[in-house]
Assembly symmetry: C2
Homo-oligomer: 641 residues x 2
Amino acid sequence: MNAPLSSPLTFDAATAEVDSAAIAPFPNSTKVFIEGSRPDIRVPMRAVAQADTPASFGGEANPPVFVYDTSGPYTDPAARVDIRRGLAAMRAGWIAERGDTEQLSGPSSAYGAGRLLDPGLDALRFELQRQPRRAKAGANVTQMHYARQGIITPEMEFVALRENLQRRQYLAGLEASGPMGRRTAELLGRQHPGQSFGAHLPQDITPEFVRAEVARGRAIIPANINHPESEPMIIGRNFLVKINANIGNSAVTSSIGEEVEKMTWAIRWGADNVMDLSTGKHIHETREWIIRNSPVPIGTVPLYQALEKVNGKAEELTWEIYRDTLVEQAEQGVDYFTIHAGVRLAYVPMTAQRLTGIVSRGGSIMAKWCLAHHRESFLYTHFEEICDIMKAYDVAFSLGDGLRPGSIYDANDKAQLAELATLGELTQIAWRHDVQTMVEGPGHVPLHLIKENMDLQLAECREAPFYTLGPLTTDIAPGYDHITSGIGAATIGWYGTAMLCYVTPKEHLGLPDKADVKDGIITYKIAAHAADLAKGHPGAQIRDNALSKARFEFRWEDQFNLGLDPDKARAFHDETLPKESSKVAHFCSMCGPHFCSMKITQEVRAYAAANGVDEGQALARGMQEKAVEFVRGGAQLYREV
Amino acid sequence: MNAPLSSPLTFDAATAEVDSAAIAPFPNSTKVFIEGSRPDIRVPMRAVAQADTPASFGGEANPPVFVYDTSGPYTDPAARVDIRRGLAAMRAGWIAERGDTEQLSGPSSAYGAGRLLDPGLDALRFELQRQPRRAKAGANVTQMHYARQGIITPEMEFVALRENLQRRQYLAGLEASGPMGRRTAELLGRQHPGQSFGAHLPQDITPEFVRAEVARGRAIIPANINHPESEPMIIGRNFLVKINANIGNSAVTSSIGEEVEKMTWAIRWGADNVMDLSTGKHIHETREWIIRNSPVPIGTVPLYQALEKVNGKAEELTWEIYRDTLVEQAEQGVDYFTIHAGVRLAYVPMTAQRLTGIVSRGGSIMAKWCLAHHRESFLYTHFEEICDIMKAYDVAFSLGDGLRPGSIYDANDKAQLAELATLGELTQIAWRHDVQTMVEGPGHVPLHLIKENMDLQLAECREAPFYTLGPLTTDIAPGYDHITSGIGAATIGWYGTAMLCYVTPKEHLGLPDKADVKDGIITYKIAAHAADLAKGHPGAQIRDNALSKARFEFRWEDQFNLGLDPDKARAFHDETLPKESSKVAHFCSMCGPHFCSMKITQEVRAYAAANGVDEGQALARGMQEKAVEFVRGGAQLYREV
């Protein structure tokens, strides 16, 4: 987990190798593929095998649990991984068969074409044999466009299978296996009704439901036609909450090799999306390596590269340079672009009295441009032209929140909310072009002001997926901002945010290394799952129930393996009780072998069976039930003073 | 931070030394004492010095920020620390002058007396010269009893000064320093109005307010007369949210020295209370060492030791053995006892259908006793006699939630809620005896079911302080349960929980070491502070504002030092940019020296000053404000399907 990265700033394309940590198998797990309506729809999942329940606890079988798998071919023993060749172009056939795209003779951006011809880059370049594709003249190749025409694409079917995680089949299989299986199915399948704040969470996700949600704009499937290596996934409030991991080098540190390694490391631990925020040299080449090897959608902030092209001088940015950058990146296969088109000239002065000004890099670049020219942002004025590019490659918008608050002090201020209104307006424009769109959100927000962010976003952006950074719920813990923000992320995920952008422990302090990437991801997997449970996402509780059942039955290995990080759970356990024999022992280091609270439950069950569950004895219960009723009824005894 | 502990299971009283990490000074910090109405009321705080704002940002002075300080004399350079002698008995005079206690000739518990006479324990024993005190016959020496008689004790005054953190004086001093100071005071003092769910949070905490809250039972000051070394603190929903750290050895690992080290380590990082949950050998001696050296209240679960006395056979427990244990521990100075008196016989069978049964150790011991004897719990039937002991020493109740859920599956079930009703009933009984009481809560609870816990507790226990373990919001992350629970802790703290019991990364897996203790504490300091901000606790935002101001002004050292963990923040920063010079640089490793978003804000301010903040230009704003109004007005566009 803390394996050193390849040494900074050196990289050789000829000898590049996949990180061995990325292809290590998960303990006791099998990569499985669920086949769809056609043989080339093969949806990956990880099946985590379990031991039988010990005889003393009942002795039943515990079938493997299916978990969502973002790790791509790296954990598929049947796949041959060579990062110099990139991943197989799984979606190439689907894209080609639609007949609405054409293969170009080469990059149509000036910059992209130029980079190919630069011999100084030979040692760094990923040798892609394929030429880029683009929509045929007049065609719109977005998933939203297909959805609105009533077409269910293979991508949509893939996503539907993926979201369902086989839960119906899993529980049905258990039920069919006899009375013991029925009891297990009951235990594993039981779930608290959630509070979804208006989300609509069907028991089964059908391809048609996916199509309808994409058509409605309530969900997006980031799937650039030039990223055929990607495994389709969906972002929307009526689906599992997703997480994004940011990687990318900066002007002062790290190399291409490190960034590819961070990507494979990030998807291993559960990143649903990865953003490449590189800002140093060779970001074109770095991006190519990342995309060609990524099974998850890749996002970027094209403005960062455009700024490099004008040597960091924001005022020298032009629409033409920016446009060329969009085409360059779209033809590499970037799946979504963060575009800070909501930073309008009139909003910039609203940040003057802030404690921490404009902290979004993209936001401050555009603010500087607007001020230097005293003109409206070119991203705003050229927004429809941007839409035309997006729909020619199916790049999704991630409308950037360039005016997000950088401190608790600045949370929910007028600059932030004015920009949000504009993002709502831009969402409508994008939708008129059938361009998939999500909307970015803050930032630093105290717990009690988070809901307002979500409610306003839902209202202003008509339920376009919200994609938030944290939010951080306090500013006082540099070094632990994965946690200050994980609290906010779980909360806003519960309220309806569709994707949570992780924050690592290094936030505000430095660039994350692999250990930080993992800490950020696990924290955000926790936040996303806590949100799914709170929303009442169907089947979300199966994994909790299975893990708790394993815990209760002292199936230590199963407890580790069903967790988000089997390696750490095992290592922690072994620090105190390293012997293999203790992993089958019916006790743990907290209480020791002499006394164990869990064993007592067995006696309770025997007693209850012998005596009946005599609830009538509980005199206090009547009282208590009244109180429960009172509180559940929403009565308020305590009012604000 | 990861310094190795003294080797397990060895300890020598003659050579015991304080952990050097416990007495290291905090960077750029001074221990200050605020004097109360009499010279022996000296309330410790930590003043974190700051650099002036760089001239390019305005050049103003930034006076030291006062932060709550739980570290006791260990961080006082004027104090001589020798753990073999213990801390000074700061409260001894206050206790003696009340004239309602008497010094005993020795321990009045049979067990306590016996331990003193055992020469086999000489090498382990803390040599306390002082004899225990007890209330004079018929006297009640609890802070609640004094409060109800209208008496403001020195402890109450101490607490009032401590809670205020000098904020009024701090802001007034800034304001008086001239126009620049006024601007700084405005920035630092500004705070979002909170949502406190009925908590009453006055701008200034007066000694009279403390008295009234203690009298009302809404807050407790754990302050055993035999723990005169403690610095008074308060637990209640109308005060700062507090955190508790559990330490303690088990039958299989660790020594006395390690546990003292964990205590001093825990208070260094901000534990307001420490529970000693030791269960192995020599727990009497371990406890003595911890209490004599602890400036924070110490809690225990007396049942654990009582069980040791009957060799781990729950069914052999008797009221007499338990009673002797209470007296033994009360005379050592334990400030609060977790007592699982709500685990009634009738409730035990309600747990039979749980996924994870009874996971509380105390709960399962009592359940086993009840079943073995088919009788009502002796803790319940002897509750008034327990009250008589509590009030003779001012030990506070922490009414244990022995039936708390051990999994998401079991959250808010009938067993848990039936016990809560009984805890409410017992709270009333304790209050009739003027015994200070708090109530323990779960456990494992999904986010959306947390509020019900809080609301029911407030209703059933009439606002007696709630003291919760987490709750954990998902079961799927063993190794990261500080985070799964930190999310729940921040949430329930916001809703009104007065003290949060930390969970470390080792939860469910092993015993926490020092690194785990620190991770648990920092996570819970974050949760408690996020809750204070959300409640709108007056002045809570000053530290956030000061840190964000330092961040914005590139005062790196101040950013580190104002954080919860300066060591880690500095180390993280230095990993990427180790040079001292970069700590005064106006850039950071994320963007590099070429471009910096924060510098742009300076230009924005100049522009705004020159052009006026022309909000009229923002056409979208009218629309947007309507939406804000709509949402703030509580309108619901999206309803549950």
